[in-house]
């Protein structure tokens, strides 16, 4: 009995010292972060490794949701809402609709990958990229000084209608153009 309890005691002691050191809120924050981050990453992996494209689309949605939660974790509540609405609501649905419209016979294997050689090369490139970015991330001396901005909606609105009003208008036009373009592309041009 003592052989089982003793390591358990040790573990709990360690946890207690750490909690004392860090303070309880930190550990909860970390856990939250890891959960949401895990959802995003697992969703992303599902997109890439899935064989059924519908499964990939659903995993993508999960990834979007995870990311949205992370936005809220970062006090960007408005953006989190936008993420849920636009990505989770519109983009994901759009993708599923496109999948439906371009249906293949064999849906179970409708998300093929290239040969192992290609995958290996892609792994190398992506891996190198990851390494580079990790090096940047871990080696840069950031002075963390998080500011609390309070109400992000007003903050964003203030910015959008004063300093960035031009991009705002242009994006509006862009959306209009995209809509018209999409309609024309999907409908096709008459020969007449």
């Amino acid at each position: 009995m003592n052989d089982l309890i003793l390591p358990l005691h040790r573990l709990v002691d360690m946890g207690m010292t750490m909690a004392e050191e860090l303070g309880t809120p930190e550990i909860i924050l970390a856990a939250v972060f890891y959960v949401f981050a895990g959802i995003s990453v697992l969703g992303a992996l599902g997109v890439v490794l899935g064989r059924n494209i519908v499964h990939s689309a659903l995993c993508l949605t999960a990834s979007f949701i995870g990311i949205g939660c992370l936005y809220i974790f970062l006090s960007a509540d408005f953006l989190g809402a936008v993420q849920f609405l636009v990505y989770g609501g519109a983009v994901a649905i759009l993708i599923v609709m496109a999948i439906m419209l371009t249906r293949r016979e064999d849906m179970a294997h409708s998300n093929p990958s290239r040969s192992i050689l290609h995958q290996l090369a892609a792994l190398v490139i992506a891996g190198l990229f990851l390494l580079t970015m990790a090096a940047v991330a871990l080696m840069s001396p950031f002075q963390a000084a998080p500011t609390d901005f309070g109400d992000t909606v007003t903050g964003i609105a203030d910015l959008m209608l004063t300093k960035y009003v031009l991009p705002f208008e242009i994006v509006a036009v862009l959306l209009l153009i995209a809509m018209i373009g999409a309609i024309i592309l999907a409908k096709g041009v008459d020969e007449s």
């Binding site: 750490m18 860090l22 930190e26 550990i27 970390a30 990453v41 992303a44 997109v47 890439v48 494209i53 689309a57 993508l60 990311i67 992370l70 936005y71 970062l74 960007a76 408005f78 953006l79 936008v82 636009v86 990505y87 983009v91 759009l94 993708i95 496109a98 371009t102 293949r104 998300n111 093929p112 290239r114 290609h118 995958q119 090369a121 892609a122 992506a126 990851l130 970015m133 990790a134 991330a137 871990l138 950031f142 002075q143 963390a144 000084a145 500011t147 901005f149 992000t152 903050g155 964003i156 203030d158 910015l159 862009l174 959306l175 995209a178 373009g181 999409a182 592309l185 999907a186 096709g188």
Partner: protein, 114 residues
């Protein structure tokens, strides 16, 4: 090189590097998928993944760096808007290609072959 305590400290004290690393991982996964997938829709999905990774970067920087206003979040907002427009067009194109060529295989769209 670091003690266990130090590593724990680093892992549990969530800061900017964590988010940057997460963003890099998502981006890399998207990149991997971009190279590897054969269907147009799958490629577009991976592109969306990459765009989302970038958005995380913006917002994380806006949260953790000493900035005066919410420019980072606004940038992410615009990015979302543009990405939405782009995905609409992209999927319309994919639909059109499927309609004309009856294939969604990227390899068959090599008319630019030099």
């Amino acid at each position: 090189m670091m003690s266990f305590v130090e590593m724990m400290h680093l892992a549990l004290h969530v800061g900017l590097p964590h988010f940057l690393l997460l963003s890099a991982v998502l981006f890399a996964i998207g990149l991997f998928g971009l190279f590897t997938k054969k269907g147009i829709i799958a490629v577009l999905m991976c592109i969306e993944l990459m765009l989302n990774a970038v958005n995380i970067n913006f917002i994380a920087f806006n949260h953790y760096m000493p900035v005066t206003d919410l420019s980072g979040q606004l940038m992410a907002l615009f990015s979302i808007a543009v990405a939405a427009a782009e995905v609409a067009i992209g999927l319309a194109l994919a639909f059109r290609i499927y309609h004309d060529h009856h294939t969604v295989n990227v390899d068959d769209l090599n008319h630019l072959k030099g």
